[in-house]
């Protein structure tokens, strides 16, 4: 399979240059293409022979980056289009009208649902249901925060929603709506999701089919977290995109260096550095295998979803480095409870290339308060790092729309994520449901709670902030861009990468931008690349 992956990935890379079906070149193009073709043919052959009847449902099809049937048939696009059309009507979100529609559809929904369902395409019925859910959610958001606030109305709408959706069953839209409903419920009750545990028993999501014994919760949770994390990586490029883009930029920046020091804002389980180490031990240019030092910022109390502590991560990295022959040392830099970063607390070594790595908002990451991030980034400025790699969520601007607008945008955002997972793995419902439960659901709750608290005001992207601090942009190389495209090619054609600035790549699903990776350097001449 890997063969096919690489074959098709390479084909895609080549094909971008050619813009035509390479099959027509099979007799005359470069050797590599032919070889790939040959390999791919053989591989695919044996794969398909083992499951000859799976054509439409053939997982090879579903998985293949070459063809995205769903995109073309429009099956899963519907919801996004819905949202888009609603946002675009009259040039802005016309929430009042939507609320009215929601109330109307609310009252007739039960009969309409059945009617529509029995009439025609299943997809038509689902579209309608999807639309209804969106209306209801928007109505609830409006009721909660709009000019005609009514907690009672919100409560009623949420009750209705809960009847219609489940976090583990149904379509993407239904499951997504379940999490959004739950999040709104939290806001309504004032428990919120920002600080709360995702397993708050008041919410119907956790009262569902999962019965955790409280004292077992953490270990149990740990296993779930790890499994979900593995699945997330297998099913989507959301983790690897930012990490690989950052790593490639780092590698290019330290080609001639013998000592590298990386300060990692949020090391989590440390997986980003596994591939960096691999690249360092096998690099051919410059001094062979430089010494790598990583300082991880660690926080006091956890209680977050985690795959082990900072120390465990350190041990793991040390072991991994040893196993591949990478000279390595690991340090921790403890942050106070207010998470203010004191650069002086770092041990710096003369002659080392200093890299600052800041991964934010990856799906499996915990939320970090803006103050903490700001403290870190400003502090970094005083260190004059060779490079700063920043990965953050790409949020669409919503202007003055307030809570409801950001709520809807958030709905749009996560629907894209859900769709992307489903497009790649349509049969793996439970796997996706796990990822949704462990990572995305809590994310949604937390995100909405924050939006609620800040009344829909959005902060500016951290990239802009860096720029404002005086950091210079570092162009992203051709190789890095190619890597990103190849990576996405492994998953699904619906993913796309855009170069929104010469130092910034943005990963998106279909037309929705999701994740931004950017590269910076401090403006001191010492750190010229």
């Amino acid at each position: 399979m890997n063969l096919v992956t690489s074959a098709t990935a390479m084909a895609m890379a080549i094909d971008d240059a050619l813009e035509l079906d390479l099959s027509s070149y099979s007799t005359t193009t470069t050797t590599t293409t032919t070889t790939t073709t040959g390999g791919a043919i053989t591989t695919t052959t044996t794969t398909t022979t083992s499951s000859p009847e799976y054509d439409h449902g053939c997982n090879w099809n579903d998985w293949s980056p070459v063809v995205d049937w769903d995109a073309l048939s429009g099956g899963h696009d519907d919801f996004r289009d819905l949202i888009e059309s609603m946002m675009d009507e009259d040039g802005e979100l016309n929430s009042v009208r939507v609320v009215q529609e929601a109330c109307i559809s609310n009252s007739t929904s039960s009969s309409t649902t059945d009617t529509i369902r029995t009439v025609d395409d299943e997809s038509n019925g689902q579209d309608s249901k999807g639309l209804r859910l969106v209306h209801l959610l928007m109505a609830a958001a409006e009721a909660l925060t709009g000019p005609n606030k009514s907690r009672d109305l919100a409560r009623v709408i949420l009750v209705r929603l809960k009847e219609l959706v489940s976090p583990t069953d149904g379509t993407n839209m239904e499951r997504l709506a379940a999490y959004f409903t739950d999040a709104l419920q939290g806001l309504l009750e004032g428990t919120g999701g920002a600080h709360g545990n995702s397993n708050n028993n008041k919410h119907f999501i956790t009262n569902g089919p999962h019965h955790h014994h409280h004292h077992h919760r953490d270990e149990h949770h740990q296993t779930d977290v790890i499994a979900a994390f593995q699945l997330l990586q297998d099913m989507s490029p959301y983790v690897k995109f930012g990490q690989f883009t950052a790593n490639q930029a780092i590698l290019e920046a330290v080609i001639q260096d013998k000592r590298i020091h990386i300060v990692d804002y949020d090391i989590m389980e440390g997986i980003q550095w596994a591939s960096l180490m691999q690249a360092l031990v096998s690099r051919k240019d410059g001094p062979p295998t430089p010494h790598l030092r990583i300082t991880a910022l660690s926080r006091g109390g956890s209680g977050r979803r985690s795959i082990g502590t900072c120390q465990e991560t350190g041990r793991r990295l040390v072991a991994f480095a040893a196993s591949i022959g990478q000279p390595f040392s690991f340090h921790q830099c403890r942050l106070d409870s207010d998470e203010s970063f004191r650069p002086s607390a770092l041990k710096l070594v003369k002659g080392e290339a200093l890299i600052v790595n800041c991964m934010l908002n990856l799906p499996h990451f915990s939320y970090r308060a803006p103050d903490s991030v700001a403290s870190f980034l400003s502090g970094s400025k005083t260190l004059n790092p060779r490079l700063i790699t920043l990965v953050e969520e790409e949020v669409a601007p919503t202007g003055d729309g307030g809570f409801v607008a950001r709520f809807m945008d958030s709905l749009y955002h996560y629907s894209a994520v859900y769709d992307s997972l489903e497009a790649g793995f349509p049969m793996q419902n439970r796997a996706r449901a796990l990822v949704e439960r462990v990572f995305l659901g809590p994310r949604i709750a937390g995100s909405l709670a924050r939006i609620y608290r800040t009344h829909g005001e959005e902060g500016s992207p951290w990239g802009e902030w860096l720029s404002g601090l005086g950091f210079r942009a570092v162009p992203i190389s051709y190789a890095n861009q190619v890597q990103a495209k190849l990576l996405l090619g492994i998953f699904n054609d619906g993913y796309r990468v855009e170069e929104l600035a010469n130092n910034r790549l943005v990963l998106g699903w279909k037309s929705r931008r999701l994740l931004s990776a950017s590269v910076w350097t401090s403006s001191s001449l010492d750190s010229d690349l």
């Binding site: 992956t5 099959s23 180490m277 890597q483």
Partner: protein, 361 residues
């Protein structure tokens, strides 16, 4: 972009034979005939798409209607439209326009009988540029695979650690000894299968985790995992001769603070997913899928073992060793088995002329 439906009879030695149908379409004679998108056909396609308002508005159905070409199916159009749409995306700016033009000119040159000396000279330059870019892309591709694998191996250590933790807690039927040392070979699969019941792991049939049927599961998981993503599964998938990720000689060099010995644990994947009541039905079981693949392991191994021969030949030189070889030929001698052992056979049996060999068993 490749049409991925390559027919079974094709290998790199054969070139697809093309026939021209009545409708003027050029089809290959493979068992699954593939449409050849000639310049003319493509131009008609572009015309139709333009008429319909652009690639985002046009759908395969409407295009088919507008083009009115007999024998052209939705199937053909779907994939071609997709490529076309992709080609219109912003990230196309990655490629030089000159390269694209050059390639188009190349294609024209090939498809039209006449050759033009004028084109010839600048063709060379463009060809070289294209070659250079292609080469760079291949390099990136190779590195990407290695990096993905590295992350896979790292994940493996996380999975195993979690396994140990669970093993310690559950204390199910004593020790894990006999689960099979990962370093021991064909007995791996047997050992793990045998321990399915005593440890109360669900039987294969129960493992409907991902929905769909078993074959689907393999198919869908298989690909990403064989890329090195699902590190743990590699071990099981390929069954034999797979030392544990961190051990070269059977000793565990890992610096864990716990006492547990990796060796005795067997594969991580197999541990993940105990059957406590609270857990039941909740968790996605990572392991079972891989164990589940037991039944298909042999077939997959067989598949991979036959690959290198074909691919190697097509290159005109043996770039990979035979499948059964356990030799590692990675650049840095310092590198432990970790980095390369877990290489999925797919990588090495592939059409990627990378001069690596891989062990897989």
């Amino acid at each position: 972009m490749f049409q991925h439906k390559k027919p079974s009879s094709m290998n790199s030695h054969e070139r697809p034979l093309c026939v021209q149908g009545d409708s003027g379409l050029v089809l290959t004679t493979d068992p699954k005939p593939r449409l050849r998108w000639t310049v003319e056909l493509h131009e008609r396609f572009v015309d139709a798409v333009t008429q319909l308002g652009g690639p985002d508005k046009a759908t395969p159905k409407t295009i088919m209607r507008v083009m009115g070409v007999k024998g052209l199916t939705l199937y053909h159009l779907k994939s071609h439209l997709q490529k076309f749409r992709l080609g219109k995306q912003p990230h196309k700016e990655f490629n030089d326009h000159s390269i694209k033009d050059g390639m188009r000119a190349l294609e024209l040159q090939r498809n039209t009988a006449s050759s033009s000396a004028m084109i010839g000279r600048s063709m060379n330059e463009m060809q070289m540029e294209v070659q250079r870019r292609l080469h760079e892309q291949l390099e990136v591709q190779r590195h990407l695979q290695l990096r993905i694998e590295a992350q896979g191996k790292y994940m493996q250590s996380i999975l195993e650690k979690a396994c140990q933790t669970l093993a310690g807690e559950n204390m199910a039927s004593g020790s894990y000894k006999g689960m099979g040392n990962q370093g021991v070979n064909p007995h791996d699969m047997a050992g793990i299968k045998d321990f399915t019941s005593p440890l109360n792991f669900p039987s294969f049939q129960d493992l409907n985790i991902y929905g769909g049927d078993q074959l689907d599961l393999h198919q869908n998981l298989e690909r990403p995992s064989l890329d090195g993503f699902l590190g743990g599964n590699d071990n099981l998938c390929l069954g034999k001769k797979r030392p544990s990720p961190y051990s070269g000689s059977g000793k565990s060099p890992l610096i864990w603070s716990d006492d547990l010995r990796l060796q005795d644990l067997g594969t991580a994947a197999s541990c993940l997913g105990p059957q406590d009541d609270p857990f039941k039905g909740d968790q996605i079981q990572m392991a079972p899928p891989s164990m589940e693949r037991g039944s298909d392991i042999e077939s997959f191994s067989e598949i991979y073992e036959t690959k290198p021969v074909i691919s190697g030949d097509s290159l005109g030189e043996k770039k990979f060793e035979a499948a059964g070889s356990a030799k590692l030929e990675r650049p840095s001698p310092r590198r432990g088995p970790l980095a390369t052992d877990r290489m999925s056979p797919m990588i090495n049996t592939g059409g990627i002329p990378q001069g690596r060999s891989s062990p897989f068993g």
